[in-house]
Amino acid sequence: MSETVFKETVLELKNLNVGYSSKEPILKNINLEVEKGEIIALVGPSGAGKTTLIKTIASIIPQTSGEICILGECCVDCLPSGNVGYIPQRLGLVNNKTVIENIIFGKFHEMNFLDVFLSGPNKEIIKEAMKILESLEMKEKANEQVKFLSGGERKRVAVARTLLQKPKIILADEFLGELDDETSISVGFKMFNYVKKNKSSIIFVDHNPARAMGVSDKVFKVCESKVIKLDKQEKNVEVAI
């Protein structure tokens, strides 16, 4: 007997337009669906709008028109709820805080005023954060300030923050860039393994098309204000408009 597979859409972009004025949009009429457990790669030339698309989904850049539906909730000016993990190109770490403090930010959306101000994060959270750091070979750097870390180490801190957050959707802008091959495989494996194991979804920007093709379920090319779906042979098969 064949098993019926129910697909669950976790993210949907409907007729999305993004830009600083309606006359010259950076992204035009984007329609995109991401299903639960999917790994989506965004590729394309520099300045095409990949980061803009990621930032719009993360509610950092407002759309000029259209809708973004996250976990079934559609809104025009959405407030982030903690269900979305975000690793920006420049990582967005707080330089004057330690590695462990930066990672725990991933759990802040679950904490109340007293937790954060008086008692701080509980032991369970710290234990979990240390476990993630250990898996990323960063345990011994836990109490170091982020400003003293190398570029690769900073990337791992940003990944660790997202893994602790346990979001339903992860938005990652070039999180594997600037890492040596070995670290990139190890960090990428941790992230994609988390996505598959927890039925989470990830949209990541990658400048390495071969790697993007290799690890993702779907690859989209951002080009000339549009998002084009690529097949595994890198042929354009569908224009996502």
Partner: protein, 272 residues
């Protein structure tokens, strides 16, 4: 008209305006020469310095073992320092919420303009005018001085603080917002740590500034070393006036050196 002619014309207009304004204000060159003679008389009377300001005052009777602690120098300076310290800390604490709301990168909407208007209004009046206002309101003494300096510190530090908040990188703020951190969490855990160096530097600068202004506002009866400065000026005891100015100079230099050392240490750590 050539560039050279334009420059010459601008120069001529500037000199013409200079003469017109000088004439309007009756700036008499004779008075300047007279002023020079008066200054010479003042310096002759002020030197040598009167070191009696380091001795215990005749009244009230000094009960301390070290009589210096009953001297005009110590009483005035310590009162000015205490006023400056209290005003700087209070002003800093009051300025923080106003500057957070006034920062454009923290999106507090229209309240931002109200907060900026309050800070601008405070800065419109110099600390001396605030001192006169508080001397009238609460009477002569250190309380008026502390209140005046606190209010001025709020206006001055508030502006510096919101500029420091606006100067930090947007990436940590955007990132924190995207992962669901609340606004107060972002302020407390992202904005404050990222601008800590600037806030510390501004705080030290303000302490030094309030120490200097503590003497000035004392002239209108707001306590501190300025009270004695005013007293000796009125009585024409210029050698004591000069002594007070010298200890003011030394104490400001001392605070300046300490704050420079602290800033250097703090910023050097950041640059590693």
């Amino acid at each position: 008209m050539t560039e050279k002619n334009k420059t010459q014309l601008s120069l001529l207009i500037t000199i013409f305006i200079l003469f017109v304004f000088s004439n309007n204000l009756n700036l008499d060159t004779g008075s300047i020469i007279e002023g020079g003679r008066n200054s010479k008389d003042f310096i002759q009377e002020a030197l040598p310095l009167d070191m009696s300001i380091f001795d215990a005052q005749p009244y009230p009777v000094c009960e301390k073992k070290i009589t210096f602690f009953c001297s005009v120098a110590w009483l005035g300076l310590s009162e000015t320092f205490q006023m400056a310290y209290i005003a700087t800390i209070l002003g800093f604490l009051l300025a923080v919420p106003l500057s957070v709301v006034a920062s454009s990168n923290l999106n507090f909407g229209k309240i931002k303009f109200i907060s900026r208007a309050i800070l601008s209004f405070i800065r419109v009046l110099p600390s001396l005018v605030w001192a006169i206002f508080f001397v009238v309101a609460v009477g002569l003494g250190p309380l008026a001085g502390v209140l005046a300096m606190t209010i001025y510190t709020v206006g001055f530090l508030g502006k510096l603080q919101y500029e420091a908040f606006e100067g930090i990188s947007n990436h940590p703020i955007e990132s924190a917002r995207a992962i669901g951190m609340k606004k107060w969490q972002i302020v407390h855990h992202v904005v404050f740590p990222e601008s800590a160096n600037n806030l510390m530097s501004q705080l030290l600068f303000m302490l030094e500034y309030n120490m200097r202004h503590g003497a000035i506002i004392g002239l209108v009866g707001a306590g501190g070393i300025g009270y004695y400065l005013n007293l000796y000026l009125k009585l024409g005891i210029y050698d004591r006036v000069m002594s007070i100015l010298m200890i003011m100079f030394v104490s400001v230099m001392l605070i300046d050196s300490i704050s420079n050392a602290l800033r250097k240490k703090y910023f050097n750590e950041t640059k590693q």
